[in-house]
Point group: C2
Chain length 212, copies 2
């Protein structure tokens, strides 16, 4: 089985792979055995040659006239995307969104395991959300030692985003998944992913108003 340890895909390709996986998952459930890039192309509105190129990064080649084997494609894609390996994460900010993410069991099915939460609110410290214990941020160093994680999920209020990111990285967090609307700055080598919930809301509201 291919591992993604040494293949660095361009971001646009990497973003498309989960779409392919989602579609392949449906075909697999339907018992379909083979799929062509043309079929994927029609289903997802992505150029067929682009699909073939994206999949060739994973050394996947379709057979002429038959296409890709659905089972193999499914296995290789989910393995490559890291969805079959457990990646441990801390949640910084056990507020409404942080707690919601801890409760979302879907994340663990995709390889993200939230092992601890951090906050500064005395009412939250010591409590658990969906089995995840909330610690004071001052305990980060200790928790990191006893139960390390490499991913930090940032759900603190916007004014604490940069400071919390700095603390987390200082204690050994290697990747930040930023849910705040603040553009957190990190040193080179630290992995950053921004999930811009509020930007998407703004986009929806703006376009909706344009229609009405």
């Amino acid at each position: 089985m291919i591992s993604n340890h040494h293949i660095i895909l361009p971001e646009p390709s990497l973003r498309r792979l989960p779409w392919y996986l989602a579609y392949i998952e449906i075909l697999k459930a339907q018992g379909v055995e083979f799929v062509s890039s043309t079929q994927i192309s029609r289903a997802l509105n992505v150029d067929a040659s682009q699909i073939a190129k994206d999949l060739s990064f994973l050394s996947l080649k379709g057979k002429t006239r038959i296409g890709y084997e659905v089972e193999a494609l499914y296995d290789t894609l989910s393995e490559f995307l890291g969805f079959r390996t457990s990646h441990k994460a801390f949640v910084f900010g056990a507020g409404s969104l942080g707690a919601a993410l801890m409760q979302d069991s879907g994340l663990s099915r995709y390889g993200l395991e939230i092992v601890a939460g951090f906050d500064v609110d005395p009412k939250k410290i010591g409590s658990t959300v969906a089995g995840v214990r909330i610690h004071h941020i001052d305990m980060l160093s200790e928790v990191m030692e006893s139960s390390p994680a490499s991913i930090g999920i940032l759900t603190v209020p916007v004014e604490y985003a940069q400071e919390t990111a700095d603390i987390a990285i200082g204690e050994g967090i290697k990747a930040l998944w930023n849910f705040t609307p603040y553009r957190v700055k990190v040193a080179e080598g630290v992995v950053m992913a921004n999930t811009s919930i509020y930007a998407h809301l703004a986009l929806i509201f703006n376009r909706l108003n344009a229609e009405s």
Copy 2:
């Protein structure tokens, strides 16, 4: 106060405005009165001339040497982005992620009010999550009549994504916020926003492996 009813911003500009708002919110809390585009530029790593251009879409002009008035900038941005108006939404799929979004009170602070949830699981129908009632999807037409919404949040399993989107749009949903990894196809005129949680996870996992 400016309204966003007739200004259609390019998507990249629209995506940057919430970053500016987040930063301005911090300055406002600190009691800062004026901010220049150079300052915003340094804080957010966005070109100063780009910031000035983005803000000019909103008829906001900074004064030479003084910059923008923080309070006015804050008010205009949050109003323009639609965060001060209540937009009603239905959640389709009251599973783990759907329930998490219903519990996230942060969304309502940004203008998104979830008024009903829909599912097909008999165990969920009739229950409430964070005060939001879950109905059978067959009740959509009725609920739409008594308590209409224009936004549909899609958190169903991937194999039901397209079908659910079609039903929702058929009953009058004007904008879809798609949290599934499936590339839902909609007719022109329907607003689509994809929040690719799994693509972000894949990105983090892939880049993390590259570092180690």
